[in-house]
Amino acid sequence: MGFREHAVRTDRRDAEALAEGIPPLLARAHRLAATLSLGVHGRRRSGSGEEFWQYRPAVNGDLLRQIDWRKSARSDEHFLRQLEWQTSQSVTLWIDLGQSMQYWSRKAADRKADRARLLGLALAILLSRAGEKVGLFDDPAPAETGEVQLSKLALSLLRTSASDYGLPPEKELREGSVAVFLSDFLGDWDMLEGALGRVAEQRVAGCMLQILDPAEIGFPFDGRRVFESMNGTLRFETLRASALRDAYARRLAERQSALRRLAARLGWRASVHVTSDPPLASLLWLYVALEDGS
């Protein structure tokens, strides 16, 4: 357990460092009426909550029991006591744990998996500071907030999957919540599209961040090569790798445009993060994307 504890602590530390300086993420709740889950942030308007918001004169139609008699007794009018509407958003993260995320080339600063974990955890910290609930697709428990949840999150992110390419598992999500997908989206496209579509069907907003290694973008290979997927299930041999660079670039562009089209269709957002770049830019993108809503 020692290693896991250490790893969790390291992840947390890196993520905290990354999240530092970004104001607590306030995910804009979408479709407020439908989701009445109480949160800690006031919505600057009256509603159901715990904090006092304002008194207003009673008008016709107000229920008698709604009148605040203490306030009303001081004057001739009747007042209602309104509470500030407080709510919390829940964000569910999918961080791809497939073997393909373990790849890193010489130019990369990090494994893709490490980068995904870092970004995910930093996002979770920001959300958690803002009082949002954070959960994982891979974790059947519903999204929660707080320090304990962060620790749980960090721990479960250390798992990896044995399969080459990950797929977001089926999970019941609350309507109006947000799903964040951190993956290289290199798996079988049809299956990916299906899985993402099924998530979208639950009327959730979404962000997709494709994390790629610089080698996966530039294809800096040469000579006679045998390419293998990370656990060796796929094999491809070429006699002159350099000749394939353009074809590869086209295929990658296709995949990325497919991803963008999917996002557009679902009303989601999509972006690409390269592990050779610093992670902060992508974290900011996620922050903005969640704040604006999709």
Binding site: Y165, D184, D222, R224, R225, V226, R240, A243
Partner: protein
């Protein structure tokens, strides 16, 4: 061995493998470099793509060529290619390793032994019995070579030494003529012909028995012939092999000095002219010194040939002659001394003066010709001189015959008693014929001299027969009457010729025999070498012998040698070269026969002469294999490049290569800066380079010695001293400059002078050394120093006062000797108002250090040590010299202390005051 185009192959059958190269070509061509397997998650995007060029990739032709070349090199390399291959073929199982092992082999005997050891090991490896032979040994009596295992021969070879005579080719040729074996011979020659005819015969015999290989050749060989006296000089002829260039030879003559120890008495040089084979080294020495010369040695040659010993031939005796009667003017032939002068004149220094004066001049021989009676005083004088080792030769004559000397008792100066009057034979008034001489008896010093028939004696003095007479007769007439008698007296000897020294009594003085007899008596040592005449019939005992390496050692174990053998003039087994003695005479037997020259050995055309050190045979195997490995490395690199794996490796490899190259070449370019950095970080003694390289070497060695002493004795731990060029180098990092003043130095010009001034003003110290024990500033070197430093700002100087800090900065010193002692050392003058503190033996002198210290004691030479720690120059002599050197070092230690600590030691005078103040 197979030879292809001058290259031999040790394992030629391996070349068959070259036939496999075409197959390899085909195989290598078909198999391209293996692909590199790579993990790549985005492989999914590649699936289904096709290579544009579908032809299978083949090995590039240049890579193929590279590999095939490497393989060819490997195959050829392992086949053992050899340039100028040595002939390893063997005709016979038996091997003979024969060495000339003469004096000429001594110079490079180690190399010869190594070669012999190689040959013997080869024989051992090949399981061949081997016989090890020195041609200088006499052949074994039973004409059979002793073949042993190589190991046994090895141990014998290790203990084998060359012998100081020439090889016995003739004897060996006779011995081997009928040898039954067949064998291969390795003949390690010294390159000299020695005895061309016999050597050719021996070579032919050996060649007929099996394969003959000759190893070794004529290096430079130099040898000396017997020394001789030539025009009053001691001359020796040096010989060398033909074909040399102009070459210098130096020889020393040595012998007992006044203290009886062997000393070098003279050293001379001569030049071999271009192409000439002989030159003469001549020593012009006073007779006294010349008579002391025992050996002459060529410098730098380690062989018996380069050493000659001298004998009586080069000694010139001093003979004092006295005649009884006054010389009659105008009739010299009647003078009793005339024939003696004639006989001795060419070979001896003749003294004819007053007897007492003559004895003062320490003659070797005194000859009294018919003196008769001497005064009692003179008799005592001469007698004492004889007892002290002199040789007194008396000749009879009318005066002796008529005197009573020795008549009644044995006279002090006569060997025998004489009968009155003598006798006259063959005269008109006497019976009988003039008497002839009887052959000399064995044991007599004249033994072996032929007796001419025409020598007759008419008159003689007669010895009184008594029991002692027989033992004292050296020569007698045919009738048995003694002609020459002798008696030992003390350490000396008294000889009496019973005839007169002129021709009145006999014609002996005008015969050749007379001269020979005198020589045999060592009255006159011949200036020519001892002839057979001189040697025959005598037995000679070796006193000192020369070994083949030219080392002379006293000899006591060799039996006396017949003079007949020595008379051959050449050493042989049992007759080593050296000095042989018989009674009073000594004869030298030198390595080279007096008439011999040095001839290079000529070999038959069909005999290969191999160089001594294995020589021109060059084994190419390592080169081939190395080249193949290099090519294979290149191949590996090429494969890396082809498969795209190179980028990962080339960067670091190139960096490493560059780093290696830089680290190899770097120091040279950065040396100057490094030196100053070193000097700045350490204490370094520095000397100023002069134009005189020898002086620079002395300075370096001197400061090295001083640095070593400082390291040992003090907490100053200087590193290696450095040379400083005041014109160019930065001086500020050196606390002390040692500046020897030599004649050729130019005074430092503008920039250098400013630099030196700055150096001196900012605390640098220069020790000027005029090296010449400069007497009070008047010497030439001092004038030179004055000129040298004219451009510098030197403060007023004074001789270092007795209370100067230099005298006590580490050791307590009174003076500052170097290799010379006693000259003043000048330092900056003390200020006029320097007062003496109460109760303190020193004045409170100026603060700061004298910027210059000037002396002439040649300190560097006294300090100088070599890398091995030995002193390079003698200082003084004996214990006093050691003390002086020690004081020189102490001066050096004090000086460096003074330079580094300034007047700190002087400040110690304040200690009592400080302590007093602290006590308050």
């Amino acid at each position: 061995m197979t030879t292809v185009a001058g290259i031999g192959f040790l394992e030629p059958w391996l070349l068959v493998a070259l036939l496999a190269l075409p197959i390899l070509w085909w195989l290598l061509r078909a198999v391209p470099p293996s692909p590199l397997t790579l993990r790549f998650p985005a492989v999914v995007l590649l699936m289904g793509l096709r290579d544009a060029d579908s032809t299978p990739e083949r090995t590039p032709w240049w890579l193929l060529l590279l590999r095939l070349t490497a393989l060819t090199l490997l195959i050829v390399g392992f086949a053992g290619p050899v340039i100028n291959p040595e002939d390893r073929a063997a005709d016979n199982k038996l091997h003979v390793v024969a060495l000339d092992a003469s004096w000429a082999s001594a110079a490079d005997w180690d190399r010869r032994q190594q070669r012999v050891a190689e040959l013997l090991r080869q024989a051992e490896t090949g399981g061949r019995p081997v016989a090890l032979v020195r041609w200088t040994d006499p052949p074994p009596s039973e004409a059979a070579l002793a073949f042993t295992a190589g190991v046994d021969a090895l141990s014998r070879a290790a203990a084998m030494n060359p012998l100081a005579w020439r090889p016995r080719y003739a004897a060996w040729a006779d011995a081997l003529e009928n040898a039954a074996h067949r064998f291969d011979t390795f003949w390690i020659t010294d390159g000299l012909a020695h005895d061309e005819e016999s050597r050719a015969r021996l070579a032919a015999i050996l060649a007929s028995r099996g394969r003959l290989r000759v190893i070794g050749g004529s290096d430079s060989q130099t040898a000396l012939r017997n020394p001789r006296i030539d025009d009053g000089r001691l001359a020796v002829t040096a010989l060398r092999l033909p074909g040399g260039e102009r070459e210098r030879v130096a020889a020393t003559a040595s012998g007992p000095g006044p203290d009886g120890l062997n000393r070098i008495l003279a050293r001379e040089e001569a030049w071999f002219e271009d192409g000439s084979t002989e030159t003469e080294v001549s020593f012009d020495l006073p007779t006294e010194i010349r008579n002391r010369v025992r050996q002459i040695r060529l410098l730098g040659r380690r062989s018996a040939g380069a050493v000659v010993v001298t004998d009586d031939a080069v000694r010139r005796r001093r003979v004092a002659l006295f005649g009884g009667s006054l010389e009659q003017e105008g009739s010299p032939l009647l003078s009793p001394l005339h024939y003696l002068r004639q006989a001795l004149g060419p070979t001896a220094d003749i003294i004819e003066t007053d007897l007492s004066d003559a004895l003062q001049s320490d003659p070797d021989v005194v000859i009294l010709a018919d003196v008769g009676n001497l005064s009692a005083d003179a008799t005592e004088h001469v007698s004492a001189w004889v007892a002290d080792g002199g040789l007194l030769v008396q000749f009879a004559g009318p005066r002796l015959a008529s005197s009573d000397v020795g008549r009644f008792e044995e006279h002090q100066l006569l060997p025998v008693r004489l009968r009155a009057g003598g006798r006259s034979v063959g005269g008109a008034m006497s019976w009988g014929d003039p008497k002839r001489l009887r052959a000399f008896p064995p044991g007599s010093p004249f033994s072996g001299l032929p007796v001419p028939d025409d020598v007759v004696v008419n008159r003689q003095v007669m010895a009184q027969p008594d029991h002692r007479l027989a033992g004292r007769v050296l020569a007698s007439l045919q009738d048995g009457t003694p002609l020459v008698t002798a008696r030992d007296e003390g350490m000396g000897r008294i000889v009496l010729f019973h005839v007169s020294a002129d021709v009145q009594w006999s014609n002996l003085p005008i015969s050749g025999l007379f001269v020979d007899m005198l020589r045999r008596l060592a009255v006159s040592a011949g200036q020519r070498a001892a002839t057979a005449q001189d040697l025959l019939g005598q037995y000679w005992t070796p006193v000192r012998v020369i070994d083949a390496f030219g080392i002379i050692r006293p000899e006591g174990s060799i039996a006396a040698v017949d003079g007949a053998l020595i008379s051959e003039g050449e050493p042989a087994p049992g007759i080593p070269p050296g000095v042989y003695a018989s009674s009073d005479r000594a004869v030298a037997l030198n390595v080279l026969h007096p008439s011999a020259g040095l001839e290079p050995a000529a070999w038959p055309a069909d005999v290969r002469v191999l160089p001594l050190n294995g020589g021109t045979e060059l084994d190419l195997k390592p080169w081939f294999i190395a080249a193949a490995l290099l090519l294979l490395c290149a191949d590996a690199a090429a494969v890396l490049v082809l498969t795209g794996r190179a980028t990962r490796l080339i960067g670091p490899a190139a960096a490493l290569a560059v780093a290696t190259v830089l680290s190899t070449w770097g120091p040279g370019s950065a040396a100057a800066g490094d030196r100053e950095r070193l000097a700045a970080n350490n204490t370094v003694l520095a000397y100023v380079i002069t134009k005189d390289q020898r002086q620079d070497a002395i300075s370096a060695a001197g400061l090295l010695g001083l640095s070593t002493i400082l390291h040992q004795r003090t907490s100053i731990e200087p590193v290696e001293p450095v040379a400083v060029d005041v014109e160019q180098d930065e001086l500020a990092v050196y606390p002390l400059l040692y500046w020897p003043v030599t004649a050729g130095q130019a005074s430092p010009g503008g920039e250098a002078a400013r630099k030196l001034d700055r150096y001196l003003r900012t605390g640098g110290v220069i020790l000027f050394d005029t090296l010449d024990s400069g007497d009070g500033g008047a010497s030439e070197r001092f004038r030179h120093l004055r000129r040298l430093t004219a451009t510098l700002d030197i403060p007023p100087l004074e001789p270092a006062p007795a209370d100067h800090v230099l005298t006590r900065s580490f050791y307590l010193l009174q003076d500052f000797p170097g290799r010379h002692a006693g000259s003043d050392v000048w330092v900056e003058a003390a200020p006029a108002d320097a007062g003496k503190l109460e109760g303190v033996p020193f004045r409170n002198l100026n603060d700061g250090v004298s910027p210059v210290i000037i002396g002439g004691n040649d300190w560097a030479s006294a300090w100088a040590i070599g890398r091995d720690g030995r002193f390079l120059f003698p200082v003084g002599s004996g214990a006093a010299g050691q003390r002086q050197r020690e004081l020189a070092y102490r001066f050096g230690v004090n000086l460096v202390m003074y330079v580094l600590t300034g007047n700190y030691k002087s400040d110690q005078v304040h200690v009592p005051a400080l302590l007093e103040r602290l006590g308050q």
